[in-house]
């Protein structure tokens, strides 16, 4: 083996050997990526149709999701967003598979980490979304019930119920992501406990006359109620 062959031809040969291993993998990765993108587009349009058929926009509209999105500047309906999300997730999963096909250790490591973290992100987002919907629904139910009971602080009650559920879901989402696990739970407990204590003190100090009146009514008998028979 002469010097020329060693210094020039050998690296080229090694490069060629590596390229011969790498190129089919790259080709396969591109193919997988394209398949993922195409499948994502197909799934997106299929799910968009299916969501339209089952009236998912109406359902989320009733739960207040449409309002939430409009407030956040999102004009698209929930069905379009969900089907887009499904499309993107499909493309992302295929992109992950494609990257791991290339067999580059650094990329493999990164993909591995992302793949492991991805479900947590999806679950955390789902928790936040469901929390928002449940918070809106129960907050409105509490508001209506307290208005019908004639409670002057109905608005505050509705907001408190909504805020508590939102906070609970945010805590659960952060816990799912593993961000400051203990800190978040302790912070939630402190804030929630503090709010309850503050309310108890506020009611105790500010509402002692009301409490007295309430107890007097209970013990001495209620004031005369309307006698209308509604039915």
């Amino acid at each position: 083996m002469n010097l020329l062959e060693m210094s020039i031809a050998e690296p080229f040969r090694r490069f060629f050997d590596k390229a011969m291993i790498f190129l089919p993998n790259l080709f396969m990765a591109v193919l997988i990526l394209i398949t993922g993108i195409v499948l994502g587009i197909i799934l997106k349009s299929l799910f968009l149709k299916a969501f339209g058929e089952i009236g998912i926009d109406k359902f989320f509209g009733r739960l207040g999701a449409g309002e939430m999105m409009k407030k956040g500047g999102v004009q698209e309906p929930v069905s379009a967003l969900l089907s887009k999300l499904i499309g993107w997730l499909t493309a992302l999963i295929f992109a992950g598979i494609a990257l791991s096909t290339i067999e580059i250790p650094a990329v493999e490591k990164l993909v591995d980490k992302l793949t492991h973290y991805m479900p947590s992100i999806v679950i955390a987002l789902a928790i936040l979304f469901i929390g928002y919907l449940v918070g809106n629904f129960l907050g409105r139910a509490a508001l209506i019930a307290s208005v019908n009971a004639g409670i002057k602080l109905s608005g505050l009650i509705g907001k408190a119920v909504r805020f508590t559920i939102l906070m609970l879901s945010a805590t659960m989402a952060l816990e799912q992501l593993g961000i400051g696990k203990e800190t978040v739970i302790i912070a939630f407990a402190i804030i929630f406990g503090g709010a309850v204590l503050a309310l108890a003190i506020a009611f105790g100090l500010a509402g002692k006359d009301i409490a007295k009146e309430f107890l007097e009514k209970k013990i001495k008998g209620e004031e005369k109620k309307d006698e209308i028979e509604h039915l």
Binding site: K58, A141, L231
Partner: protein, 346 residues
């Protein structure tokens, strides 16, 4: 002649001192509708020609009531006998302001007490009721009365009403939640509007139904009403629930509600046109599921209370006939606006 007029046999009528009671085990949704279902089952099993049901808390029930509820079925071939009473002018406000005008406008029969509580029906109709799969819905509870009446009308059964006199009953249960009652009754009525949309779209102007029984004036117990508290609840509703109503009501109706809260008690008045608009728009929102159905109807409570307060203020010095005339006017407004409902009902 004098002897012939006296029916001596009636002096020697024998009454059983041991009442006949039949009890059955029951599993399912507890409620009046579920109890009625058992009555229908028994009527079917015994193959009865006619059957009558009455509320259990009545104080003014007379033996003649059973005759008035049964005889039109047995002797005149009717399938459904609704009650007709004289009630206090402030009583039966859900009936007077929602159920009667809506039933009359949509199905074209002037049944004055469509949710009266006392009914006579034929064995044929009882069997027909049992063919319907509604016993897990609100029909099983407060919704049964409107369901029986509407089902009978919309399926072309022969309908009449019998005058029973005064309706007096035990004091109501204070634990009974008005919004829950309103939700069940109005929800059942709106469900029926959905079920029978083809029938009511084809129905023209309303007509009177045959009425049995001799009508006479009756004395009624006075009723105490706290209008100030009612208006206060209405104001609270306008302040807190306008976000929900705005999704359901036209802009001008919402603007009117915002304006009326500033008025004094004596000027507090919700016109019939506004009220008909509110009910029809709530029916459309129910149908289109614009808002959660339970939230929608429970949010109707402050509006209903406001309308009731307006009715009480308006009729404070009116006698029963004048009040009946006002209800008649409200019904006509509902009938005139029916085309609006039909147009929006897609």
């Amino acid at each position: 002649m004098q002897e012939a007029a006296i029916d001596y046999e009636s002096f020697f009528l024998e009454h059983s001192v041991v009442p006949f009671k039949l009890t059955t085990p029951y599993h399912g949704i507890p409620g009046k509708g579920s109890a009625f279902k058992i009555m229908f089952e028994i009527a079917k099993a015994l193959n009865v020609k006619a059957c009558a049901v009455v509320d259990s808390d009545l104080r003014s029930i007379m033996p003649g009531w059973i005759d008035l509820l049964i005889r039109p079925v047995l002797k005149a071939g009717f399938d459904y006998v609704a009650p007709l009473y004289h009630r206090h002018k402030y009583d039966g406000t859900i009936t007077n302001s929602i159920v009667y005008p809506l039933t009359r406008a949509l199905y074209g029969k002037r049944i004055r007490q469509p949710i009266g509580g006392e009914f006579g029906f034929s064995g044929k109709l009882a069997k027909f009721y049992l063919t319907k799969d509604v016993w897990e819905s609100d029909v099983a509870r407060f919704g049964i009365d409107i369901w029986m009446t509407t089902t009978a009308i919309a399926n072309n059964f022969k309908i009449c009403q019998s005058f029973l006199g005064a309706k007096l009953h035990d004091p109501k249960d204070p634990g009974k939640d008005l919004s829950e009652m309103l939700y069940q009754v109005v929800g059942a009525a709106f469900d029926l509007v959905e079920t029978y949309s083809d029938a009511w779209k084809q129905t023209g102007a309303s007509e009177a139904v045959p009425t049995f029984g001799f009508q006479y004036a009756v004395g009624l117990e006075p009723i105490s009403v706290d209008v100030d508290r009612m208006i206060e609840k209405f104001r609270l509703g306008v302040k807190e629930l306008m976000d929900i109503w705005a999704k359901v009501l036209p802009e001008e109706t919402a603007a009117f509600l915002q304006k009326i809260v500033e008025r004094d008690k004596e000027e507090f008045h919700i016109a019939d046109e506004i009220w008909a608009d509110i009910i029809y728009n709530f029916a459309i929102a129910w149908h289109k599921k614009t808002v959660s159905r339970e939230h929608l109807l429970k949010s109707l409570t402050p509006l209903y209370i406001g309308k009731t307060a307006s009715f009480v203020i308006e009729n404070r010095d009116s006698d029963a006939y004048a009040v009946e005339e006002k209800i008649e006017q409200l019904c006509k407004v509902f009938e005139n606006k029916k085309t609006f409902l039909a147009e929006k009902w897609q």
